[in-house]
Symmetry: C2
Subunit: 355 residues, 2 copies
C-alpha cells in the first residue's frame, strides 16, 4: 500500500483532502526572530547564494509554525545577474544596474544555463529536500516574464512604471524580445529546480496588475502561458509533472482570462473576493489565497473569523490557504500560529479522507 500524496499536492490537483493545506508567501522571512538572527550575520544575497543558509531559513517556519509546504528561500531577481544585469538589495528595495530600455541593450541579455549559472539555487533545493525528509513538499519559484521585465526596465520598483509603458507601447517588438528571453530563462530555471527536487513551482507575476485587460493578455498572460507550455513540453513534465502555480498580484480585472494560463493553481491576491474568483474562473483549476497579510494585525479571535470567511468563500475542493501577498515583517509570529491553527481546525472535513 503506497501512502497518499502530501496534502498540499493533492489540493493543487483538486483531489480529495482531509483538510485545507496552508503555506504563506514570505514565510521564511523577517517576521521570524530566528530568520533575523541569521540575517544579522549575512547579507540577503549571501543567504540566497549559500545553500546551507537558504536551507536553514527555509525550514524555520516548517519547524516552528507547521505549514504544509516549504518554499525555497531565494528571490525572483536572482536570475538577472545570470542574464547580465547586476542586482543589489539595499534596505529600500532592490536596484538593478544599467536597466535595459532599448532593443540593443535587450539583445545583449543572455538566457542562462541554470546548472552552470544558478547551481547554488539547485544545491539549496537538494539540501532542503534532504533536510525536510519528506515532512512537507518543497515549492520552487521564479518571477514571471512581465514582472521580471518591469525590474529589468525600471531598474527596481516603480510608482507608475513609466519606462515599462514606454517600452511596451513605444517599441513592442523590443518588449516581446525581452519577454521571450525572460520566458525561456524562467522555464529553464523552474525545470532545473524540479529536476533538483522541487515538488511544485510558483511563478510570481507581482506587477502584472499595472496593465489594462488587453495589455495583460498581450504582455503578461501570453508569456506566462509560454513558460507553462515550455514546462509541460519538457521531459521533466512527461509523466504529468509537478503542479504549476501562477500568481497575479491584483488579478481582479483579469478574471475572464485568468484560468487560461494552463496553470494547475491560480494565486489570488487579498484585494478580491476569492468566491467571486471561483465563480469567474470555473472549476478547472485550484485556487491559492487570499487573506490580507494586514489582517494578521487583528487579535487572534478575529484572525480566526477571517480564516473562516476565506475558507467559506473558497470552498472545499481545490483550495490552498495562503495570504494574498507576502507576510509583513512587523507581524507577530503568534498571530501567524493562530492563522495556521484556525485553518487546520476549521477546514477539517467531517467526511475526511483517511491518512
Amino acid at each position: 500500500m503506497t501512502s497518499p500524496e502530501p496534502l498540499f499536492l493533492r489540493a493543487c490537483r483538486r483531489q480529495p483532502v482531509e483538510r485545507t493545506p496552508i503555506w504563506m508567501m514570505r514565510q521564511a522571512g523577517r517576521y521570524l526572530p530566528s530568520y533575523r538572527a541569521v540575517r544579522e550575520r549575512h547579507t540577503f544575497l549571501e543567504m540566497c547564494r549559500t545553500p546551507e543558509l537558504a536551507c536553514e531559513v527555509t525550514l524555520q517556519p516548517i519547524d516552528q509554525l507547521g505549514f504544509d509546504a516549504a518554499i525555497l528561500f531565494s528571490d525572483i531577481l536572482i536570475t538577472l545577474p545570470a542574464m547580465g544585469l547586476e542586482v543589489t538589495f539595499p534596505e529600500k528595495g532592490p536596484k538593478i544596474e544599467g536597466p535595459v530600455r532599448d532593443h540593443a541593450a535587450i539583445k545583449r541579455l543572455a538566457v542562462p544555463d541554470p546548472t552552470a549559472e544558478l547551481g547554488y539555487v539547485l544545491e539549496a533545493v537538494r539540501q532542503i529536500r534532504g533536510a525536510l525528509a519528506g515532512r512537507v513538499p518543497l515549492i520552487g519559484f521564479a518571477g514571471a516574464p512581465f514582472t521580471m521585465m518591469t525590474y529589468a526596465v525600471e531598474g527596481g520598483g516603480s510608482k507608475d512604471y513609466t519606462h515599462t509603458k514606454q517600452l511596451i507601447f513605444g517599441d513592442p517588438e523590443a518588449a516581446h524580445d525581452l519577454l521571450d528571453r525572460l520566458a525561456r530563462t524562467c522555464a529553464g530555471f523552474l525545470e532545473a529546480q524540479v529536476a533538483a527536487g522541487a515538488q511544485a513551482v510558483q511563478m510570481f507575476d507581482s506587477w502584472a496588475g499595472i496593465l489594462s485587460p488587453q495589455d495583460f493578455r498581450e504582455f503578461a498572460l501570453r508569456w506566462a502561458t509560454r513558460v507553462i507550455d515550455l514546462l509541460r513540453a519538457s521531459p521533466t513534465w512527461r509523466d504529468g509533472g509537478v503542479p504549476i502555480i501562477y500568481f497575479v498580484n491584483g488579478c481582479a480585472p483579469y478574471l475572464a482570462d485568468y484560468a487560461s494560463s494552463g496553470a494547475d493553481v491560480l494565486g489570488v491576491d487579498y484585494r478580491v473576493d476569492i468566491g467571486a474568483v471561483r465563480a469567474r474562473v470555473g472549476d478547472g483549476v485550484a485556487l491559492q489565497g487570499n487573506m490580507d497579510p494586514g489582517a494578521l494585525f487583528l487579535p487572534p479571535e478575529q484572525i480566526r473569523a477571517r480564516v473562516a470567511d476565506v475558507l467559506a468563500r473558497a470552498g472545499r475542493v481545490g483550495h490552498v490557504f495562503n495570504l494574498g501577498h507576502g507576510v509583513m515583517p512587523q507581524t507577530d509570529p503568534a498571530h501567524v500560529r493562530a492563522m495556521v491553527e484556525a485553518v487546520k481546525e476549521l477546514s477539517a472535513r467531517p467526511d475526511a479522507v483517511a491518512t
Copy 2:
C-alpha cells in the same frame, strides 16, 4: 431661451449629449512645457498657494488642448497642514512630518475652517472661474478620507501600507476617529470650493485599492459615502447641487459596492474593462475614464484605436472620457491632442442634440 448646460455637466448627470466630453487627470501638469516654465520659477507649494499661478496653469490645457472641463491646480495633501500636519513635496514624493499612528496624535488633529485656513484655494477657484469666462466648467477636488488617512499615517507614499494596516486592524476606534475628522475636513473643503464657484467636485480615493472588499466597505466606501451625505445635506446642495465624482484607483474588486456611494459619477481606473464596470454598477450613475495613461506612448493612430475601444465599451450615455490615472510627465502633448481630437470626432452623435 436659456443655453443648455455645459457638455461635461450634462454627461455627469446622464443627460443627452452631442458628443462625449473629455478631461484628463493631471492635465495641468509637467507634460506641458508651459507648466514646466512656471514650475521652474516656483516651488510646487508656492504654485498651490498663489491663486494667480494656480489660475495660470489650470487654464493652460484648456487653451492649448481643448478639454471640456478645467480642474483646479492643487494637491489633495493641501488640507493636511490646516489639520496640523506639515507637508513637503521633495522630488521623490510628498513627505508628512510627524505622521499620526496612535489615538492621542489623532485627537490633536483639527477639522479646519476652509475659509480661514484654505482661503488661497478658494481665491484660486474664484479667479479661475473669472478667467474661464464660461468656456468650460471648473472641477474642484479633495482627497477621500481613506486615502488621506494613508498619507497621514504612513507619512507619504508606501509600498505595503504597514502602518495603515496596523492602525485599522490594531485600533479600529482610533482609525474611525481619524476617518471622521478627514471626512468632515473633506466635506467642508469641497462645499467651500463649490461656494467659491466650482461646478463639479471629484473625491480622489487613490489608495482605497489596498483593501479587501470587506475592509473597502468599512474603511473607504463608508467614509466617502459620509462625505457625500454631508454634501447633499448642506445648504449648497439644496437645489440639487453640482455633480459629485468619486474615483477609486483599482476599483475592479469592489464593483458590487461601488455604485452605492451616492456619487453622480464613478471614476474608473485603467486596469479594468469599463464595459464590465457598467454591467456591474448598473445605469444609475455616470462613469468617467479609463484609458491607460501609458497608452499615450503609442503612435497617434493607435491612440485613436484605443479611444474608439473605450468609447465603445463605455457606451453613449453617462460617460466622461478620461485617463484611468494621471497623465505621465514624459507624455508628448501632441499625443494628448490626438486623444482629445479622437474623442471629439469618434463620439460625435449622428443624432446630436443641437447646441
